[in-house]
Every structure is written in C-alpha cells, then in structure tokens.
C-alpha cells in the first residue's frame, strides 16, 4: 500500500488553511502577515526545488552525488550554526565543521550497515533522509552547547581562574563548564524522548505510517533513529567543545577575550 498522492487541488486546499492565521492577524493586528507569507513562501520554493533535485538524485543514486549532497547539507548546517553562535566565525568554523561532519557520517554508516543492514551504504533514500534528521538535531544541540560553554566561562571567569590557581589541569578546570553545557544541550531532547509515543508521534513515524509502512516497522525505525540522534548529538557536542578549545584559550589556559562577536 502506497501513500495517496496529493493532487494540485489538494495542495491548494492546504494553502487555503493559511486564511485562518491571516484572518486572526488582520483582526488583532499582530503584524505577522509578512513573516507568515515569507516563511511559507520560502519553505514552498525550497521544498519544490529539493523535491525536483531529490527525484533526480534518487534515480541516479550515485555514490559521489549522494556524498556531495550530504556534504552540502553538512556545510549548510555548519554555516547556520556558526552564524547563530556568539563566537567569531574564524575561531569556530573548522572545529564545528569536523564536529558536524564526522559524527553524522559515522552514525549514518553504522545505521545503514548494522541497523538497517543495507547492501549499499550510500543508498540515497536512507543517507539523505536520515542524514537530515541527524544534522537537524546536531545543529540545535551544538549551538546551545558552544554558546553556553564559552559564555559561562566568560561570565564566571573568577571561578574558572580560581580553579586554574588551585592547580587544575586545563581539562580539570573546564570540567564543571563541560558538564553544564552537556546537560543544557542534551537534557531537553532526552526529556522529549521520554514522552514520545504518548505526547507526540514523531514526524518520521507518522510519515512512514502514511507512506504505507506497518506501525511496527515505523516504530522500529523510530526507536533506532531516536538513539542515533541522541548519540550523534552527544558526539558532536563533545567534538565541538573539545576541538574549539585550542582556538579559544591561550597557552596559559586562560579564555581569550577576543573570541566573541561584537554586538
């Protein structure tokens, strides 16, 4: 059983729904018409282009093209993360790139090889769809971790220097800050994970069920992907923090003053 196609008329009905928020906006003068139209419009155009492109990629299913597409996804995520971080571009670009690329690739290959047990590890459908989910999470957790880590060391500099003066090594001095950023970055997602199935049915699972998979198949995928997302996020947080250390502290172990963006 395959999913029923959405016809053009059907899609038009989807857009028709937007009348509701636009009416609310008009009535209460929320000044949200422009952002609403802009976001929905942008999303529609992006997805339309991606749709065309993905059809093409899926049909060709070539190693290099799939790999390149994954790289493009990684680079977009890295730019988005670096732009919304509070640290200067040149200080964290490479650390974040490595921290996004390697965990995503390794977890994806592991997923395809050991969990789904694909014959062709770079199968476009899996590589790109799963890669997108992993990267989306990596992006959000890493920004939280990097920002909180360096901002807390900056705002609690006295505490940090006291630790150095107490004779700590660099890792010992950083330990409480590392712990706290990990918690800030990963605990919200973990809490959400714990309620999945009861409070929310995740997008991938709903999608698979609509697409014709049995709920048991969808659930197995969902369990596996939740674990993969968590592990990939944790790995990426660790790498982002550890790799950016070298650029952010001087050789005396003190946080550099000039790593933050000027507002």
């Amino acid at each position: 059983m395959d999913a029923i196609e959405i016809s053009n008329t059907g899609l038009l009905f989807a857009f028709l729904l937007l009348i509701i928020p636009l009416l609310i906006d008009y009535k209460f003068k929320l000044k949200m018409t422009r952002p609403t139209l802009w976001s929905i419009g942008r999303m529609t155009i992006q997805l339309a282009l991606v749709g065309i492109f993905l059809e093409y990629i899926f049909n060709l299913n070539s190693f290099w093209l799939n790999f390149l597409w994954l790289m493009l996804m990684v680079i977009t995520a890295v730019f988005s993360a670096v732009n919304s971080s509070k640290i200067k571009f040149k200080v964290i670009f490479w650390p974040v790139f490595v921290a996004f690329f390697f965990p995503t690739l390794v977890i994806l290959l592991y997923f395809n090889a050991c969990i789904i047990q694909l014959d062709y590890l770079f199968e476009a459908r899996y590589l790109i769809a799963l890669g997108g989910m992993l990267l989306g999470n990596v992006l959000s957790v890493s920004i939280v971790a990097i920002n909180s880590f360096y901002q807390e060391i900056h705002s609690q500099n006295k505490f940090f220097l006291y630790r150095l003066a107490m004779g700590s090594s660099q890792p010992e001095a950083l330990a409480p800050f590392l712990r706290h950023s990990f918690q800030l970055a990963l605990l919200p997602a973990l809490a959400k994970t714990a309620t999945i199935g009861i409070v929310s049915l995740p997008g991938m699972m709903s999608g698979q069920i609509i697409g014709g998979s049995s709920p048991t198949t969808a659930i197995r995928y969902q369990i596996a992907i939740m674990i993969a997302i968590y592990v990939c996020g944790a790995l990426s947080v660790l790498l982002s923090l550890v790799l950016s250390n070298k650029n952010c502290f001087n050789s005396y172990g003190v946080l550099k003053e000039n790593i933050f963006k000027k507002n």
Partner: protein, 218 residues
C-alpha cells in the same frame, strides 16, 4: 653574606591597558619566607600583580621569575601548584562545602595532599568558623565566611607561597585580627598580601610596599 635568591621576582615589567599604564619598568622581588603587604588604593591595579604572577595575563615587556625560573606558558602549570591563591570575592563553585573541598583535592596536582578531619576542624575553629558549615550549601555562607573558608582551603593545600587579594576586607574586626595572625604564623611560607586594610600595617613582621609610589616603606 651570600645573597638569598628571590622566590618571586618581577623584572622591568611594562604593562598598559588601552591608554592606562599600570606598570612602567616595574621591579619587585620577595625572598623565601617573607611576609609582604602591598598597600594601595583600590582600582590602582594591585591585583594585576597577582594576575601576572599566576599567568592570567602577560606583560607587554619584562620577565617574571618564580624560584629563579622565568615563568612561561610551559611551566606556569607547575608554578600555580606552588601558590595558594585567595581572591577578594572568591568563587569556589556550587553545592555542599565538603564536596567542593573534595573536588579541589581530587585535582591530580593536589591528590597527594591529605588532611585529617581534626586538622580541618582545628583550622575552621582558628578562623572562627563552625565545622557544621562543611555540610551546608555554599550559598548559605556569608561573604566573610566564604573568604575564611577559602583561606582554610589555601592553608590545607600546604603550598610554599600564599598570595592573597583583599582577603580581610569582608571581615569583622575580631575575625580580621585572628586571620592576620594565623596567616603570618608560619615562618616557612612566603605570603604576599594585597590590601587597603590598615590593620596589616601594624604588623611588625611584614614588609610593606607602597603600590602608588612603587617603593618599599617598611
């Protein structure tokens, strides 16, 4: 008489922040076991001296020596392990006092430093602190209590040098006298105190350095 080498020595230090000159060809040295008080108004950059010694900032020109060795990015980690540092409004972390102390003694540099329960309780008593504070959350301590606790930890570390930045400013007069005599007691330990607290000037065993004039006055 053979000249004793300095344990801490600043040589021709130049340091400017933006347009403000903190040090201009500054020279300063302390011998082992000396008790030195650096006296000066607040905001004059006295703390900068300790920040230089601990490698938190670097001078634009000049050298700093510890035990006759020039301080570098490589040996600063060893130097810090020889110095017990307590700051004006010390931030030791969060949580239960005993756990905080344990964490500092779990650093690989301090792992061999053991202290007995009797020792810490005696020190707490000497600094007019109740040993029940060990089980309290550090947030429940007053500024003065936190400062004295930091001093107790600094003494427990048994390091050869103590550097103290305005550690008596938050103390009541009785605690102040007690703390001063406790800190000057040990003849082996070199103590460098930064203060604008007049109490220190009345001590006979200390050398006094006027930071504003950059010269020794006692």
């Amino acid at each position: 008489m053979k000249k004793q080498p300095a344990i801490i020595k600043f040589e021709d230090i130049n340091l400017r922040f933006k347009n403000k000159t903190i040090f201009h060809n500054f020279n300063f040295s302390i011998l082992k076991g000396e008790k030195v008080v650096i006296f000066g108004t607040s905001g004059s950059g006295k703390s900068t001296l300790l920040n230089l010694l601990l490698g938190f900032i670097q001078p634009q020109e000049g050298k700093i020596f510890f035990n006759s060795q020039e301080i570098t990015a490589q040996n600063i980690w060893q130097v810090r392990r020889q110095i017990a540092y307590v700051d004006q409004d010390v931030m030791m972390g969060k949580g239960e006092v005993q756990k905080i102390i344990n964490e500092y003694f779990s650093f690989s540099a301090n792992a061999k430093k053991r202290f007995t329960q009797i020792e810490i309780e005696k020190l707490l008593h000497d600094f007019r602190l109740d040993s029940s504070l060990l089980t309290k959350n550090i947030d429940q301590l007053s500024g003065g209590e936190r400062q004295r606790l930091a001093l107790v930890i600094a003494i427990l570390l048994k390091r050869p040098v103590m550097v103290l930045d305005e550690v008596t400013s938050a103390l009541d007069p009785i605690s102040k006298t007690t703390v001063i005599s406790q800190l000057l007691k040990n003849k082996q330990v070199t103590v460098l105190i930064i203060t604008h607290d007049k109490e220190w000037q009345h001590q006979k065993t200390v050398r006094i350095f006027d930071f504003k004039e950059k010269k020794w006055t006692q």
